[in-house]
């Protein structure tokens, strides 16, 4: 177990800057997810941690030791690749044992560790098969087994679940998290899937354009997104955004546009007149006769547990999650209310969250 520190880390590919002066601390035993859309630099950062990419500027330290010039094999890390990168000519047993054999461990020790890893990952029956004879999920587990037997200081995962089907992915999420809880190894996990990030992470690092936008617990990012980008990235269905401005009328503060007039906490009074984006999560609205949000129903999607109402509000798409019993046919007008405390307000020009002067929420 070790901590990982990034100190003003930068990366250029030729003249293209892909990582920009990035600083981050990852504590011992933490499960950190690097989250972002493709091209945001998250995989590059992970590969730099592993030593597979050079560091253009700044420092990366593992366990307090700067590793900039250290070869991947000397960093004592384990990594699971997106395409698993199993050795196709070796059996599962040899795949898992390879790093131990290279390290010159005794045959007994190698066997014991391989058997133990196989037992934990339910691979015992497949030890003598070749990777080509395994399903996607089993290959994924072999890749994890290979990392497990290492006693590595840091575990790196590079989108390990993206090649699996949805059901298996949900299952493997749980397995990986359980594995982390058992091994308590520092883990850095790269994904573009916000659900993986929300369900697995102790800490999410949301990246955009080669920099960090927000670092925090899944709840932090969901409840207090620092920017509109974060708000839109986290949460499913995606947050609804309405453009408008804050209108302050003494004690009454409202978010207003041509069709919506939404009461806001009094703390926003200081921002009267500011052009803002108002974010409302689909799960935070309730059907209400007096609701401030009026929309025309375009389509009602049944998801089983509930219904997702797709509405047209002021010319933009608005999704509301309602109980499954909710009636509604396309063309109906529906009204929704929202708790003022659950509304997210972002500055229209900068995209940054505007906090109330009172609560700081």
């Amino acid at each position: 177990m070790a901590n990982v520190e990034y100190r003003s880390v930068g990366k250029n590919f030729g003249t293209v800057r892909v990582l920009n002066e990035l600083s981050l601390d990852i504590g011992e035993g933490e499960f950190v997810v690097l989250l972002g859309s493709s091209g945001c630099g998250k995989s590059t950062l992970l590969r730099m941690t592993a030593g597979l990419e050079t560091i253009s500027s700044g420092e990366i330290a593992i366990d307090g030791k700067v590793v900039n010039g250290v070869h991947p094999r000397d960093r004592n890390i384990a990594m699971v690749f997106q395409n698993y990168a199993l050795y196709p000519t070796m059996k599962v047993r040899e795949n898992i044992a390879f790093s131990l054999e290279v390290a010159g461990k005794s045959r007994d020790e190698v066997n014991a560790k391989v058997e133990e890893a196989a037992r934990v990952l339910s691979l015992t029956d497949y030890l003598d098969r070749k990777p080509s004879e395994l399903s996607g999920g089993q290959r994924q587990r072999v890749a994890m087994g290979r990392a497990m037997v290492r006693d590595a200081k840091v575990f790196l995962f590079d989108e390990p679940l993206s090649n699996l089907d949805a059901k298996l992915r949900a299952h493997m999420r749980v397995e990986i998290r359980q594995l982390h809880d058992r091994l308590k190894a520092t883990t850095i996990y790269v994904t573009h899937d916000q659900i993986e990030a929300m369900t697995m992470a102790d800490k999410i690092v949301l990246m955009q354009g080669g920099g960090i936008v927000q670092v925090g617990t899944p709840d932090d990012l969901y409840d207090r997104p620092a920017t509109r980008y974060v708000a839109e990235f986290i949460g499913s269905p995606q947050i609804n955004c309405q453009e408008g401005e804050i209108v302050s009328d003494g004690a009454d503060v409202h978010f207003k546009n041509s069709e919506v007039s939404l009461p806001l906490p009094a703390g926003y009074a200081a921002h009267g007149g500011t052009k803002v984006t108002c974010g409302i999560r689909p799960n935070d609205v309730q059907l209400s006769e007096e609701g401030a949000i009026v929309g025309r129903l375009k389509i009602a999607e049944k998801t089983g547990a509930d219904k997702q109402m797709h509405l047209d509000v002021n010319g933009s798409e608005f999704v509301a999650v309602t109980p499954r019993s909710t009636e509604g046919v396309p063309g109906d007008d529906m009204r929704f209310a929202v708790d003022p405390g659950k509304v997210h307000i972002f500055d229209q020009s900068s995209g940054h969250r505007i906090t109330t002067t009172l609560s700081g929420a």
Partner: protein, 294 residues
């Protein structure tokens, strides 16, 4: 899958078999010539199916008796000589096998480096390697002759093996590089993280994955060396000769020994055929390699 009508299926078989026969017939006719008597070869119209087979042509070129009655030369051969071709066949085998081995070994190492390692001029290197094949071989043969003369490599196995390996190298490097390029870099990286050195990764992980590719490359190199004419002709005198060169000696001022030439050709196909049969197992594995890769 698309449902095809019966007539289209029949048509497909007919075309397929027609193509096969088109390629196989000259080979068959060549073989019949090898088993025909001197006069029968020249019969008109040619006897394609019915003739009285004889092994005399083989007996003559190998200087042996197969026990069918013709122990010694029955008539004067064109050119007046008796050819003993078994040593020439052996020369061909030694040269083809060793030059193939050298070419494939060097090409494997070189193309792994070209595929994986970053060094200045890496991208130009490939076209540079290929450019060595752009010159007509005959333009190279004469200078090589003089160089070999200085180095005392004329008329030696080493000399011919080297030049054949050299001629094969560019193509072998290019071919092998494409096989290495097909292997995802993550596999190397995974090996690195597992603590293995570059050479260990190459030997234990990557090399077994390109076995099929190496086999395919070896087949091509072998066939090139087996059929190469110009360099063997210019760089050898009496010490050794390969089959293509000696078969030209059947064309003499007093006539062409078609039967003997065909017999030698038939005999020369056998080792090449055996070699390909041996590596074929790996060839098939090479073709299925893609499905193993994640």
């Amino acid at each position: 899958m698309m449902v095809r009508s019966k007539s289209s299926r029949v048509l497909r078989s007919v075309v397929a078999w027609g193509t096969v026969l088109l390629f196989a017939f000259p080979l068959y006719y060549w073989l019949t010539v090898a088993f025909k008597d001197g006069k029968e070869i020249f019969n008109y119209p040619p006897q394609v199916w019915s003739f009285s087979p004889t092994v005399r042509n083989f007996e003559e070129i190998f200087g042996i008796s197969l026990g069918f009655g013709f122990g010694e030369q029955r008539e004067v051969l064109p050119g007046g000589g008796n050819w003993r071709m078994a040593p020439r066949l052996w020369d061909s085998i030694v040269i083809a096998v060793l030059s193939t081995g050298i070419a494939v070994s060097i090409a494997t190492l070189a193309s792994y480096a070209l595929s994986r390692m970053e060094f200045a001029g890496r991208h130009h290197f490939v076209s540079w390697v290929l450019s060595t094949r752009m010159m007509p071989p005959v333009a190279v043969a004469i200078p090589v002759f003089f160089i070999y003369k200085e180095l005392s490599l004329l008329d030696t196995y080493t000399g011919v093996i080297l030049i054949h390996a050299l001629m094969n190298l560019p193509l072998a490097v290019l071919l092998m590089k494409s096989f290495f390029d097909d292997i995802p870099h993550e596999i190397d990286e995974s090996g690195m993280i597992d603590g293995a050195s570059r050479f260990l990764i190459f030997r234990r992980i990557i090399l077994p994955m390109v076995k099929g590719g190496a086999a395919a490359t070896a087949v091509l190199c072998f066939i090139f060396s087996w059929t190469e004419f110009l360099f063997v002709l210019t760089l050898t005198q009496t010490g050794l000769k390969t089959v293509p060169v000696v078969s030209s000696t059947f064309v003499t001022s007093t006539g062409t020994a078609w039967g003997n030439m065909a017999a030698l050709g038939a005999a020369a196909m056998l080792p090449a055929f055996l070699f390909i049969l041996l590596v074929q197992k790996h060839l098939v594995r090479g073709l299925t390699l893609g499905s193993v890769k994640q």
